[in-house]
Amino acid sequence: MRDKGYYLWLGILSVLSILGLGAWIYQVTHGLVVTGMRNIVTWGLYITAFMFLVGLSAGGIIVSSSATVFNLPQFKPAARPAVLLSVVSILMATLFIFVDLGRPDRVLNLLTSPKLNSPLVWDVIIITLYLTLSLYYLYLMGQPEKGEDRLRVVSALALPTAILVHSVTAWIFGLQIARPTWHSALLAPLFVVSALDSGLALLLLALLGLDRSGWYRVDKSLFSTLGGVLAVLIAVDVFFVFSEVLTALYPAEERLMRYVNLLLKGSLAPYFWGEILLAIIPFLILVFRSNREKPGLVGLAASLVVIGVFLKRIWLLFSALLIPLLSYAPGVPLGSYLFPPFEFTRYYPVAWGITGKYTPTWVEIGIFIGIFALGGLLFMVLARAILAPSTPKESQGVSCGLTS
């Protein structure tokens, strides 16, 4: 029973996906009131996950197409798993946008009456292009006889598209004058570098998992090289964050300081400092060559980076949403209401808010886990079909780093 582990994971992930589907059906029947989002914090876990996954996707493809574009043959073995990860991540990101819609039945309006003013429409266009390119790329890599030329052209296109895909995602947020912590010219570069480090980290985890399962062997030196690249990217990421925070902190502009304090010592401090910590620790691990030669340590560093970037998505999203620019009492009507007698006793605190609050509900967490499980499932099935040799030697199950 060498496939036991594989089928076990397949089973677990399927069950989780179905539970996620159930949670989504519950959400559709009851409305978005079953989420923790309300009128001040209008975006929550779904959009956080969307940002995160677009990043993971873009990062992988930037690394893999660099192998062809910049002629780095040592990266070549990473290319196919990387594109596969990108395809799966971008599909998951799209699903997260879909579950966030108040009217999912009207999602096709995006295609039938798109407004080119909206960064969201730019994102729809660029993601479609990106997905098409990735799928074609994947197809080409499975057909070595089609020749290097075509592959070279596609990677030359895929590289800028991947950078653009994450920049456009950043511009969804960064072009908003209403949201001080988003409205920054540095947001797109910040997103791209976060995409690079989290995407590369995820790729490392996937390669480790594939290597362990015996489906796809990679040379040990690849981990070490990619680990070194990861260390550099982490440093750039921290540099950007530092530059951004310093620019806000030094002039100490009153309005902006309310938001910055939220990060430095307010409710988002655990996420902000957590991200910094989860950048410094993996950097300190990866900066030493001897550590990079131990796949276990590289794997640990990579998982810390992925978690760290997820924390970053959290503070990025909520730092802008928690405080309305006009935060005078009684504030904003939050938008949920129960019939009396439930509401009368606690009417005021429940119905209005001067600042926002957000905790994801079990429905959101269920959908979140469901989509990640579905992604994991898709990756496992596709990886086995595309990457694994026709007779797998042994499969102890992918350690499923991709869901961490």
Partner: protein, 207 residues
């Protein structure tokens, strides 16, 4: 003839913070429980009606806030399906049948003027109370002030203007130099909310 540009002028020295405009709006526009298109904020202390400072050196001001119908409206720019649009008379309006409920406009609005139907719209009493011609909004779409489109298009004024007992609210065409709003803006100093954001609101506050 110059196109219309509807706007509102609110005299903060007349406003007494009675919330009549908020309730009038809710009634006229059939706004469900838990939502308001128009609300009265207290510029002052930490809570509703609480002044700033300590007795007897107190300061308090009321600030009625609804959609500012910005000339440079961020919400109109970001709407991916064109459900939110600037109409020829200068109002920011919503096509509720097209909105996909992505709430991008809500993150784009600096005034938090937009509210979302998180739940099945709930009304007490259990029937619609809005006036005729108010568009129907279902669960899952964003809604907001329309300058009472149904009334204004019929030659009347927004219901908050009609109901304000302090006569603090005036409505009219900002492009018409003879209108009352234009006259007030010529004669008295006015501010707009968050002017540094560059949205150029069409709601002015007189001091």
């Amino acid at each position: 003839m110059v196109a219309k540009k509807y706007g509102m002028v609110i005299d903060l020295r007349r406003c007494i913070g009675c919330h009549t405009c908020a309730i009038a709006c809710k009634l006229e526009n059939n706004v469900p429980m838990g939502l308001f298109w128009n609300r009265v904020l207290t510029r002052g202390g930490p809570g509703l009606d609480i002044p700033e400072g300590s007795y007897p050196y107190l300061k308090r001001e009321y600030l009625p806030v609804a959609c500012q119908h910005c000339e440079n409206a961020p919400c109109v720019k970001v709407c991916p399906v064109g459900a939110t649009y600037k109409d020829p008379d200068g109002r920011v309006l919503i096509n509720y049948d097209r909105c996909i409920g992505c709430r991008y406009c809500m993150t784009a609005c600096p005034y938090n003027a937009r509210v979302f139907n998180w739940q099945e719209p709930l009304r007490i009493p259990g029937h619609s109370y809005g006036s005729q011609g108010v568009p129907d909004r279902k669960r899952g779409v964003v809604e907001k002030c329309s300058f009472c489109q149904q009334l204004v298009d019929a030659g009347r004024e927004p219901f908050c203007v009609t109901c304000c007992p302090a006569r603090a609210r005036k409505f009219g065409d900002l492009n018409d130099p003879e209108s009352e709003v234009s006259r007030l803006l010529r004669e008295r100093p006015a501010e707009r909310l968050l002017e540094d954001r560059g949205t150029r609101p069409q709601v002015y506050y007189l001091r």
